[in-house]
Amino acid sequence: MSGLTTISRTPRATAQADGKVASETLSEIWRALETLTDPEIPVVSLREMGILRDVRGDASQGYEVVITPTYSGCPAMEQIHDDVLATMQQLGHKASVVTQLAPAWTTDWMTTEAHEKLRAYGIAPPLACATSAAHANASGSKTHVLTFAKRTAANQNIACPQCNSDNTTEISHFGSTACKALYKCLACLETFDYFKPY
């Protein structure tokens, strides 16, 4: 038992060595945080999701890691908070996590890599918020009411992440989590999650 604990401790001391340039330490922190993923979508990193906003401070004062919540009630935020702190602790840094509300998180902050990874994972990535709003207005209603003729999503270009067909339809506005809607592909008949523009 005691043998196991000593093994993991030794390399940490050098990581904190004083001679290190501040920017090197910062990029080391970013690299370490890059391994953290959204607990709900384990293929996309917090940075790619736009949740991880900033790292500031220095070794003597300690670091502040700035994260921003996705949905108000997103239950993953506490996990993310804990994951960030644990990572900073592993690096041997004094750190706190700051949750910043403004500017409000938007799916537009997701990187192109994130979109690709989502698609590969089986989740259709979000349309840009402006595009989505334009579609809502084009459908002619101020309150976004849908008509219940079987409406395909083809005019919204929500492509099936499995077969890439545009011939898809919305089953439910709310899918496995608040941030996703449930869609069905009418070509390959698979259901899939669509990450809603937010």
Partner: protein, 267 residues
């Protein structure tokens, strides 16, 4: 000094009003968890409750920072009694039509949907205006909540059209729910001291100024749903001024009992 503490009190009451609205409706709609009419709706309703409870948490956290004195989001949500809550009476009503006090009935999804529609249509306008609040934290919360309430309005509006323009039975149930709930919306437009207080100093919105826009939104959806807007009249409820219906105590009892029985509990 007196003037500024009076202004602070209105500010705190306003934040608590917004927070209590969100937490009470979130808790009420959470009753559908595991009992939704179809699986997708079960999930939709609980996801929207999650949004509301998340909004309530941010608002309570912010209010707690102004209240001071060791207040936390938990003390405000779990350790205040019904007679100090400031939510609209509309939001505490059970999911069925008017009954005598001791009667129980099955939940009626039409009541749930109509209430969500009436309230989210209002909040769509309120959050939009509050993005410009002079309280920057409230403005930040509003910007997030606005994104969420857009989906809530869309959800409720879709179902309202489906019910109203559906079968005779679904139409009648939706109309009955609307007739039952509409009088409670009069409370939106009756002025209260704390609302007037925050409207004048730029923290809050002058809620009465939103009435026309709200009614136009209603008109749009309800005419598509082939439903008649009843004339709201009669008694004006006073939940936001801390005088509630008999239903709030039961709702809070269920929500608060765990925290009160195990005040230091963590998991």
């Amino acid at each position: 000094m007196a003037a500024s503490s009076h202004a602070d009190a209105a500010h705190i009451d306003y934040l608590l009003h917004l927070a209590d609205n969100a937490v009470v409706l979130g808790q009420r709609n959470g009753e559908w968890c595991g009992h939704g009419p179809v699986l997708e709706e079960d999930i939709a309703m609980t996801n929207m409750s999650l949004d509301l409870i998340g909004q309530a948490r941010m608002l309570y956290q912010h209010a707690a920072s102004l209240v001071g004195d060791g207040a936390t989001e938990d003390s405000l949500a779990y350790f205040r009694d019904a007679h100090v809550f400031r939510n609209y009476t509309l939001l505490e009503l059970p999911h069925h039509g008017a009954l005598v006090g001791y009667a129980i009935d099955n939940r009626d999804y039409a009541v749930t949907i109509v209430r969500n529609f009436l309230y989210s249509s209002l909040m769509l306008l309120v959050w939009d205006r509050l993005q410009n609040s002079s309280d920057t934290q409230l403005a930040a919360i509003a910007a997030k909540s606005l994104k969420e309430v857009r989906y809530h309005v869309r959800h409720a509006g879709d179902w309202l059209v489906r019910f109203g323009d559906g079968t005779t039975e679904s139409h009648d149930k939706a109309q009955a729910a609307l007739d039952h709930l509409m009088p409670y919306t009069q409370e939106f437009w009756s002025a209260s001291d704390f609302e007037s207080g925050v409207a004048t100093n730029g923290i809050g919105v002058d809620i009465t100024s939103l009435r026309n826009a709200w009614e136009m939104q209603l008109q749009d959806t309800l005419s598509e749903a082939t439903l008649q807007i009843p004339t709201a009249g009669g008694f004006i409820t006073t939940g936001k001024q801390q005088v509630h219906s008999e239903h709030l105590t039961f709702l809070l009892e269920e929500m608060q009992s765990l925290a009160r029985r195990h005040p230091e509990g963590v998991w």
